[in-house]
């Protein structure tokens, strides 16, 4: 899995769905517009799972959410309000898309104990993360090719012969960054793993495996490093997010305890997660926004793309505006775009560091980079 949402993929994603909570399936789809309505300039239609008159991407959104809510009554880390807020993006301004929900303040939401059992959380993620990546893998992979500088620098700084893991390697764009180290990639998505294997060309196949981030097949304390980019924000409870960090720390070498001054401080992990604070992004989320979201991934139909080219120019290739898409979505028309919903937990400032420290990690460096929080950490002992 890869860093999030560059232009092409979600630009036309019109809906932000606050991950519904509550117990009853139907309750999870209470169709109240968020308090005060959408902050977006386009009126947000109060949504209905079986409703009509919605713009196509949102229709798909609601349908997906409804299914999920039926299957998984208790979704992620505890909110009490069951609200789906629809904000309509116009792709015209960076902050036109705002998740304006009846959300608890971030600190409250984050400090609540997970409201769902581990099995329920796993099942929720199976629907809202794993299945989605399987479906969007080719499209997703095609939009993920450029290594991010902070991560590339981390990998390039490793000493020759280092051995480590890329947990959630997605299409494998980091596996070949430093040819002087040996990396083994893993991902929950078998489809993405195949892309990762061939990332450097068939001649230079990368070593990859399909594995769950909470059940990694890596021996304890052997690796010099482990990176985990844009993965842990897909875990739907804080407990699971921390377990994921713990699993990474478990992979890497412990610091040597000789205390003589030239001791080795052990292996390092690098973790990237999506930030809540990204007011300068197209999505416009910021402190106080809902932290647990379903974020749409819109896959365009080829046919429609061609048609769109005729009318190109207004929105570049950022996709059609919802209303426009609606016009194209006649039942006899071309196939509609398919919208997939991925679950995200947006990390507020300091939250990732708390999670690292809660499971025995020591933060070595940290920072904010392109709407993400990142941490380099080692084991305390």
């Amino acid at each position: 899995m890869q860093p999030t949402i560059p232009a092409a993929a979600d630009a036309d994603a019109a809906a932000v769905t606050a991950a519904a909570s509550g117990t009853a399936a139907a309750g999870a789809l209470n169709q109240q517009p968020s308090s005060g309505g959408s902050a977006a300039s386009h009126a947000a239609a109060p949504n209905s799972a079986s409703g009509n008159g919605m713009q196509p991407p949102i229709t798909a959104t609601a349908a997906t959410a409804a299914t999920a809510a039926d299957v998984v009554p208790v979704p992620p880390a505890g909110q009490n309000d069951s609200t789906i807020a629809i904000a309509t993006a116009t792709s015209k301004g960076p902050s036109s898309l705002t998740a304006n929900t009846a959300a608890a303040p971030p600190s409250t939401a984050a400090s609540l104990a997970p409201s769902s059992s581990s099995a329920e959380a796993a099942s929720y993620e199976a629907t809202h993360v794993h299945a989605v990546y399987e479906s969007i893998a080719p499209h997703f992979s095609a939009t993920r090719y450029k290594p991010w500088p902070v991560i590339a620098d981390f990998l390039s700084s490793l000493s020759p012969g280092s051995v480590g893991f890329d947990v959630g390697c997605g299409n494998g764009k980091y596996l070949g960054v430093n040819p002087g180290v040996h990396m083994l990639g893993s991902d929950r998505s078998a489809s993405l793993v195949r892309f990762a294997r061939d990332h450097g060309g068939v001649e230079r196949s990368q070593d990859v495996a399909v594995a769950d981030g909470l059940s990694l097949p890596f021996p304890e304390g052997r690796a010099d490093f482990a990176i985990c980019v844009a993965v842990i924000h897909h875990m739907s409870t804080r407990e699971r997010r921390r377990e994921a960090v713990r699993a990474l720390l478990d992979c890497v070498r412990r610091p040597s305890a000789d205390g003589s001054g030239n001791g080795d401080d052990g292996g390092k992990i690098l973790v990237y997660v999506w930030a809540l604070e990204q007011s300068n992004s197209r999505r416009g989320w910021d402190e106080g926004s809902e932290q647990d979201l379903l974020v749409p991934w819109v896959m365009k139909q080829k046919k429609e793309k061609k048609e769109k080219k005729k009318t190109k120019g207004k929105a570049a290739d950022e996709g059609v505006e919802p209303a426009e898409a609606g016009a194209e979505d006649g039942s006899s028309g071309p196939p509609a775009d398919t919208t997939y919903q991925r679950y995200y937990h947006l990390f507020r400032k300091g939250e990732l560091e708390e999670d690292v420290e809660a499971v025995g990690g020591k933060v070595v460096r940290n920072g904010y980079d392109k709407d993400n929080w990142w941490v380099v950490a080692s084991r305390c002992s």
Binding site: G161, V163, G180, R188, L216, P219
Partner: protein
């Protein structure tokens, strides 16, 4: 998947990880391919201290390679012995397991390897 990577894989079942039987995983019905890769001596020499040598010996034997020496060669020995370096390069880097299974010696679970990709997803009862 290179033999080198097999040296860094164990059973994904949590209860197995602390057991000695879970590591290394045992190849079964393994189909191997041999790549022709340029030797990277620097990488090899630096990787050697990170290798679990007894585990590598086990894996090599199970894959049908001649027995490895009981002790890993030192850096100086490797630098002075090009044939040994080439043999290690061949085993660790050029030999890939493409098909077959990796079996945990503790719980007996078999992880399928297809087209060089091992699948470590666990059935629900083993998670």
């Amino acid at each position: 998947m290179k033999v080198l990577s097999l040296n860094f894989l164990t059973c994904a079942v949590k209860a197995c990880k602390s057991t000695t039987g879970a590591y290394p995983l045992h190849p079964k019905d393994a189909e191997l391919v041999e790549d022709d890769l340029e030797i990277n001596s620097d990488l090899l020499l630096n990787i050697m201290p990170r290798i679990d040598w007894p585990a590598l010996s086990t894996t090599a034997t199970e894959l049908g390679f001649p027995s490895l020496p009981a002790q890993p060669p030192t850096k100086e020995e490797l630098e002075a012995d090009e044939k040994m370096l080439r043999d290690l390069h061949h085993l660790l880097m050029e030999t890939q397991m493409m098909e077959g299974k990796l079996v945990c010696g503790n719980c007996g679970h078999e992880y399928a390897v297809r087209e060089g990709i091992a699948n470590f997803l666990l059935p629900a009862h083993l998670v």
